[in-house]
Amino acid sequence: MLGLDKKDALLFLIVVAMVVLAPFILNPFPTDSSLAQFNAGYPDLMQRFLIFGIFAVGFNILFGLTGYLSFGHAAFLGVGSYAGVWMFKLLGMNVLLAIVSSVLMSAVFAVVIGYISLRRSGIYFSILTLAFAQMSYALAYSVLSGITNGETGLQLSHNDPRVLGASVNADGSLPVPNLFGLEMRATETLNIGPWAFDFNAGYYVCAVFMIAGFYLAIRIFRSPFGMMLRAVKSNQQRMHYTGLNTRPYTLAAFVISGMYAGLAGGLMVSMDPLAGAERMLWTRSGEVVLMTILGGAGTLIGPVLGAGFIKYFENIFSKINDNVLHGWFAFMPDGLENAVVWILHPFIGKGWHLTLGILFMLVVIFLPGGLVEGGQRIMGLFRRSPKDGAKQDTEASKHPAE
């Protein structure tokens, strides 16, 4: 189906179903129940799941296939964001304009940064990309503040030309990003009994791009180009002595993944037309590395899972505070209750990084293949009988990049 083999087509359909039905899946608890705070089905967070999913899927095309670990991919996220907001300011509020310009601008940056950084490999490549991203961040903050509006961040204003639309709405408010009139913030809420499900226009715009991006990633993984990228990771020497030039292969992978990052940046500003320099900070670059490794580098679905996992933690886990804990452990005797809350305190709320860090370490140590490997092991427990173990191994080697 769609030029994919059975296994990939199934994976693709699962992702499509999950993305389309996310407003239901992520809101499993009735709105007034005590567990409602674990609901992740509100538009802002759902959009972020998809946007960072795109970011990580693109990053994985570079890191997962070629093994080149870029520590500067946030630069493309930032470039994409600025390019998008400038489109809103100069041309008009249609998100397609912004997204196209984001992708193109980040591609240009990726060609330049990639051309220079890819002259080295391993740790030196990582350091070069990190240096570029930090330079971009510093420039955006200081020298280039004419373009980036420095610390305040680039945002819409009443004086923008917006040649294809109105600078200001009739009522004096700023126009909002839209897709041919459909506003990105438009949300329909569906109430079924005690449940409420939000269907947001912006989310479904992100969903279209995410599904297209994921489909393209599958095609790239299974293509001769993708095989060459895995060959680069495996043995560059043999590549050269097979008559293949590795440089354009790695550069193409770098630019493609930079364009995914630019797309993510463009979608970010389409949902909220504001771009700041902190989007290029090295912690953002590190975050996408974490997402990819946590989910499973070099696998198709891994980066999506990793992105979802980290964003869920960042937004949901961080909201649990001491009061919530007291509520949960109210059944205990007072002293014990206070003790338990005291122990858990560093791991919740603002301490969510600590919990995430511990989980990350556990995954890297015990599941080097990330969450995907965890899933495979669980599946294996159910499926595997001693007899067909060998057969499954040969099956697995058919799709080494899965």
Binding site: D5, R219, F225, T242, G243, L244, Y249, A252
Partner: protein, 251 residues
């Protein structure tokens, strides 16, 4: 005029004259062995042929074209393939994928952005790869992880990959180094088969005299960076200069 002409090639590393005025002519469709004691400059010479090193002086011509100043992949695309001392294969890929890559490289050149078609949808390439695997007697291993094979099998795969490029010249750098006797004999048989059944020139660097004398049509003996003698295997065997180079003057 041979297919490979090495003229007055010299290479110096600091104070060490690794190669001095090497002249060598490899004739088409022969097997030419280069032997010599450790430090004779065999590997340096080989690296000069495939673009890994650029000699200080002299010229290297392959099929009428200079290889100097070209990168390894360009030289490979000209028709020179190299088998390494330790097998260089794509360990993370399956055996079949390993075999497909050189065929892609031959068809599409040094770079092709072939990102939307499926690898296994390319029937002609798949067919050629399967064919070559059968020739190498490895068809049953096609879905194995290349890294998990024995050294002999890796060597066999590497030679198959090189042949898939349909090179005019196959360079082998001590292809049996570190192999068990049985694997060595298998490799010799394989190379003999290749030599007899294909239009291919083979240049081989080897320590193992058994391998050299079973394969070579001509032998060049290298010592201290210069060729001592070049002759047929029979004449080389009893040559006094060769004995001297290998065993020292007193022998």
């Amino acid at each position: 005029m041979g297919i490979l002409e090495v003229k007055d090639v010299g290479k110096r590393f600091g104070g060490l004259q690794a190669l001095g005025d090497v002249n060598l002519s490899v004739q088409e469709n022969t097997c030419h062995a280069i032997i010599g004691p450790n430090g004779a400059g065999k590997s340096t010479l080989l690296n000069c042929l495939i673009g890994k090193l650029i000699p200080d002086t002299g010229s290297v011509m392959f099929a009428g074209q200079s290889v100097l100043g070209r990168t390894p992949y360009e030289i490979c695309q000209m028709g020179i393939s190299r088998v390494f001392q330790t097998p260089e294969i794509f360990g993370d890929l399956s055996v079949l994928e390993n075999m497909m890559i050189p065929i892609f490289a031959r068809r599409d050149g040094a770079f092709a952005l072939n990102a939307l078609s499926s690898v296994f949808g390319q029937k002609d390439i798949l067919e050629q790869a399967e064919h070559m695997l059968e020739e190498m007697n490895m068809a049953d291993k096609r879905h194995m992880h290349a890294a998990s094979m024995s050294r002999g099998d890796k060597r066999r795969l590497e030679i198959g990959m090189c042949l898939s490029q349909q090179p005019r010249l196959l360079l082998l750098d001590e292809p049996t180094a570190g192999m068990a006797r049985a694997d060595t004999n298998n490799t010799i048989d394989l190379l003999k088969e290749i030599k007899n059944e294909r239009d291919i020139t083979i240049a081989i660097i080897e320590h193992d005299m058994h391998v050299v004398f079973s394969l070579a049509d001509r032998i060049t003996v290298l010592a201290q960076g210069t060729p001592l003698v070049e002759d047929t295997p029979d004449k080389i065997k009893g040559h006094p200069k060769v004995r001297e180079a290998y065993l020292g003057e007193s022998a």
